[in-house]
Chain length 134, copies 2
Amino acid sequence: MHRRSRWRSRNRRRREDGSWAVRARVERFGEPALLRLLSERPTHGYELLERLPELLGEERVDVGNLYRVLRALEEDGLVVSEWQAGLPGPTKRTYTLTDDGREALAAWLEALAALRDGLTTFLDDTEKGGDHVR
Amino acid sequence: MHRRSRWRSRNRRRREDGSWAVRARVERFGEPALLRLLSERPTHGYELLERLPELLGEERVDVGNLYRVLRALEEDGLVVSEWQAGLPGPTKRTYTLTDDGREALAAWLEALAALRDGLTTFLDDTEKGGDHVR
DNA sequence: CGAGTCTATATGAAACTTACATATGTTCTT
DNA sequence: AAGAACATATGTAAGTTTCATATAGACTCG
């Protein structure tokens, strides 16, 4: 008869002063971010890990998931990987974007642009009737 | 020894012609959308269900989750509800935005605007180095 | 008035995503 | 030689979205 413990959202939480802190993110944004970095040049996972936070505007990126996403991308043929020894430091697995990956990135960019435009519409419409909000 | 069956993403899939179809969405976007509709006037769930698709630009909204989100919002004090009989049709539960809900909506709008700006930066930067992409 | 449709609110469970914890081995620094 | 940094992973919990199904009153049409 105990109250069913509710799942807490990770996107909205109450600050100590009682106000709301909200974080809005795009689903699976890590994928286009990785494809974009790889579109510049082949890169290994650990370096991607270091360059992602700035691109994402987040403090840190989950290491485990990064490598999982990379292998998923490879399974789908968007990237290929190669072990690279002989360089300073431990052996690295270097990922290279394929043509298919380039197409997927282009598709992502279109979708993200559409999302941005949708957001703009949503925000404008809300402002417009926004005597309710402010 | 069977290959571990991979989780298929719902955001990227291959079309029959081989090209990629990508769908970009904001995490938990249903919540700000509901708050926004409720900021106009008190509304019951079923009507929200009908008005959401246009606002979201999606074909349909999951009925079950709609009601779950509404009750979560109520648990968090962002809305209050009241059963309303005497109207045509089955008894409806009408939700009304609270002051706290209005604040949460405002926080959402800020976060969404920030996300939009971040997307713009991401897209511009990618275009810029975009000899890689096109 | 009976059958079927529409309105209205909900629960259960599977599939997917994100977050947190930990493992393993190499290389570099001091 | 010890410890930090580099590099790549796996396991699992928590949270989110999707798909399926349940329930019941009200309306509509023959």
